[in-house]
Structures are given as structure tokens and as C-alpha cells.
């Protein structure tokens, strides 16, 4: 396995390539305030990030990635459009005994631009594909924007759509919710009893804690509304499942999505965006005929992508992705204090690149 010096030298080389592609070099602190990351990722991040306490600044985390500080920096005083390159160590706790490293280098490239998002997606992907081409990696792509559009277009309660959107990055929970909203799994006995007794049951104990009577009443009303609403139609559930399971070369996937959009017209704008992206990728020399597309790619917790997603993999399935990235427009709004800007970017693990170069 390549040592730190080799990983750093490889990082320098990739970083120089990003700068040559027009990126401004930026730095980020290793110690990041934990609060921002916890609010963004939830408690799950504690299992992956090293948390430490600072006597004056409170809980801090060893940076688990660069995206958040780079976005914050851009939102505070960045010019537009902007391209940034960065490199350095990131830290990830490993909760299982394995060869996976808890400290490794990342080199990244981020592009913030309001105009022509399809071409921005293509620019980032083509840059990564070109830099990694000597390694003969397998590329995988997806588009979370399609899933978001499909859910937003369901003919059902807004509260159900909001619940599905909130869990789009948790596939198991998403499926559970879809089963229930589709009327395919039974309503829990406790819920049935509650709905049957609506308003007639005295509170079994005095209310303690911060959650108020009004919040309980509001949720009871939401539950009643949900119980009265018809289930999501079997047809809509089937189309959604068809979409989630779609895995094909990009050009074939696009044709299939066109078919799906005839049944789910609200999908059409997202399919148009995918087509524009494939055109932009082809114009930059990417072989889109064979580029793998999986609709569920990128649906993992601790992610924030909401559009195009991509990753590059070595032949050994035990290795983590050599590179990954995607579009994260919503994240800039979350961190932008009222402002937002479309953004797309990705990272490469230079240590893995060095290992693969050694074995090539």
C-alpha cells in the first residue's frame, strides 16, 4: 500500500490538474464546529466523525469532508461563477474492524454556477473521467433529481410527499413509508385504536417536557387527515418502483425514462435535464452509450446530493470508491443563510489512486 508521501505527491499532481482546469486553490480548517455538521447530517455523523471538545468553542469535529467548509466560504464571500480546488486529510471513524482507513487524503473540485447546470455537471464529470482514465475504473452515475421529481408529482397528501422526500436517502425507511401510503402494509394496532378513540380518550398522565399540547393536537389532526385520504394508487407505486430499480446504460435509461414520463408527466422536466446532461457529456467526449446509470445511485445516509451523482470504482469491490461527487443545490441554501447557488463537485482519494498505479 502506498505510504503517506506517495499519497501526498499524488494529491499534489491531481490538485495541480484541478488548478490548471481553472480552479482557485482554497484551504479549510481541520477542526470544524460540530453543530453545523450535526444539524446537517443528524446524529449518524457521530458514528463517522471524530468529535472533540474545545474549552471555548464547544464540540468540534475533525473535518469529515471539505464540502461544508468550502460551501460556507463561498456563500460568505465568493464571486460567481467559481471553481475551487482543495486537498488535505479527512478523518472518518471506522466502527468495524477492517482495512478501511480512518485518515486519508482527499483532493476535490467544486463548481458554483447559475448558468447551464447540465454543462456544469458534464464539466466536473469529464474532468474526473479524464484524470482517472489511466486506471480503467468503472464509472457509475445516477440522478437524485429524478427521484425528487417523481415523489413531488405523486397525487397524494403534501404531508406524505414531505415524509417520502425527507427519507429519500434512507431506502429502507422510504420503502416502508411507500408501502404504508400505498395501503400495502397494515396500520399498526396502536394507530387504529387511537384513530377510533379520536378525541374521546383522556390523557393518561400529566404532560411533561417541551413538546406541547398543541403539537400533539396538530399531529392527531395530521393522522386523521392521513387516515381519511385514499392510498397512493397502485399504478403510481409501481411507476415509482420501476424508476427506483432502473439500472441501464445511460442512453437506454433515458429512453426508458421517456416512457415513464408519459405516465408520470411531472417527471418530464427532470428527464429533459438528464438528456441535456448526456448531450453535454457527449460533447465533452464521454461515451454515454456505455455510461452506467442507476436511478438509486447515491441514496445513502450522510449524503446531500439532490441531482446528478457519480462515482468511480476499482475492480476490487472491497475498496471504497476512488472518486465520487454530485450536485448539491439544496445544501447551498441550507448553509447560505437565505441565499443559494447551484453547485456540483467531487473528490478523489489520491491514496487509492497511488495504490492502483502501483499495481497497474
Amino acid at each position: 500500500m502506498a505510504g503517506k508521501a506517495r499519497a501526498r505527491a499524488t494529491a499534489d499532481r491531481l490538485f495541480a490538474a484541478f488548478v490548471a482546469a481553472g480552479a482557485l486553490p482554497v484551504e479549510a480548517d481541520i477542526l470544524q464546529p460540530a453543530e453545523v455538521l450535526l444539524d446537517l447530517y443528524g446524529e449518524d455523523i457521530r458514528a463517522r466523525a471524530y468529535v472533540t471538545s474545545d474549552p471555548l468553542r464547544g464540540e468540534m469535529m475533525l473535518r469529515p469532508d471539505f464540502t461544508v467548509p468550502v460551501v460556507q466560504m463561498h456563500m460568505a464571500h465568493g464571486a460567481e461563477p467559481a471553481r475551487y480546488a482543495y486537498q488535505g486529510e479527512v478523518f472518518r471513524k471506522q466502527e468495524h474492524l477492517s482495512e478501511r482507513k480512518s485518515e486519508f487524503f482527499q483532493v476535490g473540485f467544486e463548481l458554483f454556477a447559475r448558468e447551464n447546470p447540465s454543462d456544469a455537471d458534464a464539466e466536473v464529470f469529464a474532468l474526473f473521467a479524464d484524470l482517472l482514465s489511466p486506471l480503467s475504473l468503472r464509472a457509475a452515475t445516477g440522478d437524485i433529481g429524478l427521484l425528487l421529481a417523481a415523489v413531488r408529482g405523486l397525487k397524494t397528501l403534501e404531508s406524505r410527499k414531505a415524509a417520502l422526500l425527507r427519507h429519500i436517502w434512507r431506502p429502507r425507511r422510504f420503502t416502508q413509508l411507500l408501502e404504508r401510503f400505498g395501503g400495502r402494509s397494515p396500520v399498526p394496532a396502536s394507530r387504529q385504536a387511537l384513530l377510533a378513540a379520536q378525541g374521546t380518550r383522556p390523557a393518561p398522565a400529566p404532560l411533561v417536557g417541551l413538546r406541547s399540547e398543541a403539537e400533539i393536537t396538530a399531529r392527531l389532526a395530521a393522522l386523521a387527515e392521513d387516515a381519511a385520504a385514499p392510498p397512493v394508487s397502485a399504478e403510481e407505486v409501481a411507476f415509482l418502483e420501476d424508476l427506483l430499480n432502473l439500472s441501464a446504460p445511460s442512453v437506454m435509461a433515458l429512453a426508458h425514462l421517456r416512457d415513464l414520463a408519459r405516465a408520470m408527466p411531472h417527471l418530464a422536466p427532470a428527464v429533459d435535464r438528464m438528456e441535456a446532461r448526456l448531450d453535454a457529456l457527449a460533447a465533452r467526449g464521454v461515451a454515454v452509450d456505455s455510461l452506467a446509470f442507476e436511478a438509486s445511485h447515491g441514496r445513502t445516509t450522510l449524503e446531500y446530493y439532490d441531482g446528478f451523482v457519480f462515482s468511480f470504482h476499482a475492480a476490487d469491490p472491497a475498496l471504497p470508491p476512488v472518486a465520487s461527487g454530485g450536485r448539491y443545490d439544496a445544501l447551498t441554501a441550507v448553509l447560505g443563510a437565505g441565499r443559494s447557488i447551484p453547485a456540483v463537485g467531487g473528490v478523489i482519494r489520491p491514496g487509492l489512486v497511488a495504490d492502483l498505479e502501483d499495481t497497474a
Binding site: 443528524g42 457521530r46 458514528a47 425507511r173 416502508q176 398522565a205 417541551l210 413538546r211 400533539i216
Partner: protein
């Protein structure tokens, strides 16, 4: 070199551990003054008794500083990552039963399941601008459980004792704690969720996989025969 056996140093857990070994012909006892943490073993050759806080036994096992240890199965799962690769569960001892559960105010008539808790957490965050707080000392077990069940928008706050009181004291909205009868929960106006039994704990005899077993294996074989334990190697 002797085989080091770590057992809880005080309270009911210590007494029941001594009884369990005693019933199998191995006498454990404390020696010296009542306040001195020293012990002796009779009825098993080459076994050295180490009296420890039950909460420290998982760590001592993981470090291999003791060969065998008695502690709650909840503590081992919570304190050790990949616990079953670090220690081997030799025998459930049939006492010290407690369930690790999630409890919420009983007045939350709209919340009975994890699904409800997740929905309430989302609404709570919208309403209060902060994630719903769950007080616990079992951080790993609770986080893994909630993650596996797709609950989001919560935060764990540390509570090392009197956890049932945190909701009334407004330092948490819900709790995850061990309970045996549920009486303390009830007295604090809390109820257990229907589907949030995280772990059923009991006192358990563990072996350390990374301890130096050379020189301790003869003592282990003799002890294992006495106690009816598996004759494995670690």
C-alpha cells in the same frame, strides 16, 4: 501465569455473580477489609480474581488485561465497536435482567411506535428549530438502533443517571434507558414505545479474544469443565 477473571466489585451484581460461581463449586470472595478491593478464588486452580466496576469490564476485556469477565451484555455491546470480534460470549448467567427501551411522555397519545417518533421528531424540529433530544448513556446501541430503523431529526444527549427525570427537567424530550419493572418510568409519566426494545440485557460471562491465553489455557480448561463452558480457543 494465571487466568484473570474480572467481576463486578460491588452491589447486587457482585453478590449474584459470587452465588452463580458458588453454585458451580467455585468460591469467589473478597478478602482484606470491607473497603479493600481484593479477592480470592477457591475451587479452581490458577484463577486470579480482579474486582472492577461493571462499566469498566468491557474495556478491560477488549484490552486483554483480563481473560474472562462478568458484566451486562448491554455494556459490552454499547462500549465495544464490533463487540463480537473483540470478546466471545461464553454463557448467559440468568440474572441482572434489564431491557434497554425508548420511552416518551405518556401524554404523547399520538406516539406509540418508532414511526410515530420519527414523525414527531420532524415536526418538533420544524416547531422548535432543534432536533428532538433523547437522553441516554447507551450512545452506540441507541444510535445504531435508530439509524437501522430510519429515525431522523433526533439528537442524543448524555445522561449518566436519573435519566427518567430529564424530560420533566426539560433537558430531553424522550429517553433511552434500561428498565426491569417499568415502575420508575411510570412514576415519571413516561411510557415505553411498542417497537423500541433495543436490547434485552443480562449478566454474561465473556472471554477476551486478544488476551494472552498462553499459560492461562490450562486454568481455563479446568474452570470450563467445572462451569460447563465450551472448550473453545479464542
Amino acid at each position: 501465569m494465571s487466568l484473570k477473571l474480572g467481576v463486578p466489585s460491588k452491589g447486587r451484581l457482585m453478590e449474584q455473580t459470587f452465588d452463580w460461581f458458588g453454585a458451580r463449586g467455585v468460591t469467589l470472595k473478597r478478602t482484606g477489609s470491607e473497603r479493600e478491593y481484593a479477592g480470592a478464588v477457591e475451587g479452581a486452580e490458577g484463577v486470579e480474581l480482579v474486582l472492577l466496576s461493571a462499566g469498566e469490564i468491557p474495556r478491560e476485556l477488549a484490552a486483554g488485561r483480563i481473560h474472562l469477565g462478568v458484566t451486562g451484555s448491554d455494556l459490552v455491546r454499547d462500549k465495544l465497536a464490533d463487540w463480537d470480534r473483540q470478546v466471545c460470549e461464553l454463557c448467559s448467567m440468568g440474572f441482572g435482567h434489564a431491557d434497554l427501551v425508548i420511552a416518551v411522555p405518556a401524554a404523547w397519545i399520538d406516539v406509540s411506535t418508532l414511526d410515530d417518533l420519527d414523525a414527531a421528531a420532524a415536526a418538533f424540529r420544524r416547531c422548535h428549530g432543534q432536533r428532538l433530544r433523547i437522553a441516554t448513556k447507551y450512545h452506540r446501541l441507541v444510535r445504531d438502533f435508530l439509524q437501522a430503523n430510519g429515525v431522523a431529526d433526533y439528537q442524543l444527549v448524555d445522561s449518566q443517571g436519573a435519566t427518567e427525570g430529564t424530560v420533566k427537567n426539560l433537558t430531553a424530550e424522550a429517553i433511552a434507558d434500561i428498565t426491569s419493572s417499568g415502575e420508575t418510568l411510570k412514576a415519571n409519566h413516561l411510557k415505553i414505545l411498542d417497537d423500541a426494545l433495543i436490547h434485552q440485557s443480562q449478566a454474561t460471562l465473556f472471554a477476551a479474544r486478544c488476551a494472552d491465553w498462553q499459560g492461562a489455557s490450562a486454568a481455563y480448561r479446568a474452570l470450563a469443565a467445572r462451569l460447563g463452558l465450551p472448550e473453545t480457543s479464542f
